[in-house]
């Protein structure tokens, strides 16, 4: 541990403990999401972040929370939780209740919490990427020093609008970090089958932009890389393109129940050896930061918390039927009736 604090003084032992707790909570929370889905409480498309927790944790723990902007696609629970969104509100949204972050109107794919800097939660693959650049435009316009974390998937990184956005982000010096969560799959399609060159870090190169590939399975390394990149972008007011290597242990979404269509059990086992939570756990024990028992206690606590969150969310009622016309406009309702 002494190594780490020397090399990177801004990460304290307490920080590491916090990351473990957060990552454990996210995983337990999403296990409850799956339970809710199987119980018919959640519907539609629901995508968990299991295996990818270190990625969002490293990045989001490196920004000025509530000041910097964060935006992502539909695999969005972790980002919200890490930003400090009330877990019960997130769960209530996932099960479509009035107490949800969007009053039950959005569901798992559309969590928002602008007060904490979280701008969603978007379902069209690649579609939110220009929005993220637009948030950066607003920061630039107002001469603030905010940065934007603009997350997308490896599959999303093929969408044309991404490259339109990279060009403009670079032309206009936007403080926007494009983060490809490369979890090796776009739904049922492997990286090699959807990307002509699987080294996605190269995709930003033609736009006069810094580019690199980093590891997203080691939260400490992720945290260091994230801090370095964020500091650079804040300082230099220019965009950055980062490919982060990770893995999606779960199926694409809760409805994907035949992973053998696109990968083997053996492959999954190999990937599990990189589990970011197990890795941090090991690090903490080996470096005498936490004992096995202390960790087990946190595990038990987060598990109980996640369970309580689902129970609490279930207490929230369904939206009232007359809310269906609300908040479509700020100042009027659309014409009513069938």
């Amino acid at each position: 541990m002494s190594n780490l604090t020397e090399e990177f003084p801004s990460i304290s032992s307490n920080d590491l403990k916090q990351y473990l707790r957060e990552m454990l909570f996210i995983r337990r929370f999403e296990e409850q999401c799956n339970i809710a889905y199987r119980a018919g409480l959640a519907g539609g498309y629901m995508h968990t972040y299991i295996g990818m927790e270190a990625l969002a944790s490293g990045w989001i723990n490196s920004i000025r929370k509530g000041y910097d902007y964060v935006i992502t696609a539909y695999r969005d629970h972790a980002h919200a939780l890490l930003l400090g969104t009330d877990a019960v509100a997130v769960m209530a949204e996932i099960i479509g209740r009035k107490g949800g972050t969007a009053g039950g109107k959005g569901g798992s794919m559309h969590i928002y919490d602008p007060e904490n800097g979280f701008y969603g939660g978007w379902g069209i693959v690649g579609g939110h990427v220009p929005l993220g650049a637009g948030l950066a435009y607003a920061a630039r316009y107002r001469n603030e020093d905010r940065v934007v974390l603009n997350f997308m998937g490896d599959g999303a990184a093929n969408q044309g609008v991404v490259y339109e956005t990279l060009n403009m982000a670079s032309l206009y010096d936007l403080p926007c970090i494009f983060i490809v969560e490369n979890n090796e799959f776009a739904m049922g399609t492997r990286l090699e089958y959807h990307a002509a060159d699987p080294e996605l870090w190269k995709r930003g190169q033609p736009y006069n932009m810094k580019c690199e590939r980093v590891d997203g399975m080691d939260v400490i390394q992720m945290r260091k890389d994230a801090q370095r990149i964020i500091d650079w972008v804040r300082e230099n007011q220019k965009p950055y393109w980062v490919e982060v290597m990770t893995y999606r242990y779960a199926g694409h979404g809760a409805a994907d129940n035949d992973r053998q269509l696109y990968r083997t059990k053996e492959e999954e086992e190999v990937a599990w050896a990189r589990d970011p939570i197990a890795r941090l756990r090991k690090y903490l024990i080996e470096n005498n930061i936490m004992s096995e028992e202390a960790i087990e206690a946190v595990e038990a606590e987060t598990e109980a918390e996640a369970l309580a969150v689902l129970e609490k969310a279930k207490e929230s009622p369904f939206p009232d039927t007359d809310e269906v016309y609300d908040n479509i406009y700020t100042d009027m309702t659309p014409e009513k009736g069938h």
Binding site: G44, T189, H338
Partner: protein
């Protein structure tokens, strides 16, 4: 009479695709996750094994594409210009919004802009409308916009036999065709010709699925199933409803629709898309224009609520027209 077999809408659709692929080597499929992953709504289940190899990097006849709707719609269109006959699956029709420039500005105009020299035989298909809790970005009905565009043909079959026969007609058509499905239809069952590869259902003909003399219920796609249900309910009240299944939005078979209205003197047009500005408005406007003297009541419409689709199931169900909504409109017509 051919032998008949009971199939789901999904199976019938696949049967149509497979028969056309077997008949004509120029027919090929492309779309996201249609091959190895078997298709999100499983319409293409088993096809990569049949027409390709799971382990190939790619299969030219069953082409798994990246998530780039505009790009692959354009590639398919170019291939059609050169004489192939692509069938393009959109995972949902909502995603076809990303390909609209390709379809409207390119595919639909090629024959015209080349003054009839180049043909563009291509089918774009996929589910439109609400599935179940897919919320605001994934629940669009797109058929009305397509049916507005000269150069396209737009089909919205409501039964397994129709989707089977119209899929086959669409592939054989030398013009771009949109085959508009609905997630709520894939599981419904119906009788389909078993071994009559020559079977097709013509493009541009509406069907009377139930004769009646008191009111015409005019709809397409899943709403036709609702209309059939409503007709049974009305029968109990002594109202004899005729169910007109539009099936083909472009070209629109106004002859059949008008004949029904001239007989019943009353019409309700039912569609799942947002009520305001949906294609039902066109159908209603035409009836109003051309059957004015035959009408005993205004042409009423039942459409989806004019709101982005909410996630919560109770709200979602509220948005999609159901039998009660149609019944309420019918009551207004008397």
């Amino acid at each position: 009479m051919p032998n008949m077999i009971e199939l789901s809408y999904r199976e019938a659709l696949q049967k149509g695709i497979v028969e056309e692929m077997e008949r004509d080597q120029n027919v090929f499929l492309m779309g996201e996750d249609i091959g190895r992953y078997q298709g999100t709504f499983k319409v293409t289940r088993g096809l990569v094994e049949k027409f390709g190899q799971r382990d190939n990097r790619y299969n030219l006849r069953i082409l798994d594409t990246p998530i780039t709707e505009a790009g692959f719609a354009g590639i398919a269109t170019g291939a059609a210009m050169a004489g192939l006959r692509p069938i393009v699956e959109f995972m949902t029709m909502s995603f076809s919004i990303l390909a609209l420039d390709q379809i409207i500005n390119h595919t639909a105009k090629i024959h015209y802009m080349t003054n009839g020299v180049v043909k563009c035989p291509i089918v774009f298909r996929g589910p439109g409308g609400a599935a179940k809790q897919l919320s605001a970005q994934h629940s669009h009905s797109m058929e009305g916009w397509y049916a507005h565009v000269p150069g396209l043909k737009v089909l919205a079959p409501s039964t397994p036999a129709d989707v089977y026969g119209m899929m086959k007609s669409a592939v054989r058509d030398d013009n771009p065709v949109i085959l508009y499905e609905n997630p709520g239809l894939y599981a419904i069952k119906g009788m389909v010709p078993e071994d009559d590869a020559a079977f097709t259902v013509p493009i541009g003909k509406a069907a009377i699925l139930r004769e009646g003399k008191d009111i015409s219920l005019v709809g397409y796609s899943r709403m036709t199933q609702i209309n059939l249900e409503v007709a049974e309910l009305l029968a109990k009240d002594g109202i004899d409803a005729e169910v007109v299944d539009v099936r083909s939005l472009l070209p629109l078979d106004t002859e059949t629709i008008y004949a029904s209205v001239k007989k019943t003197h009353r019409a309700v047009v039912v569609y799942e898309d947002w009520r305001s500005g949906g294609f039902g408005a066109e159908i209603a406007a035409r009836i109003g224009e051309d059957c004015f003297d035959d009408l005993d009541a205004p042409v009423l419409r039942v459409g989806g609520l004019n709101v982005p689709m909410p996630y919560a199931r109770n709200l979602e169900l509220q948005c999609i027209p159901d039998a009660d909504d149609v019944l309420a409109a019918v009551r207004k017509a008397f």
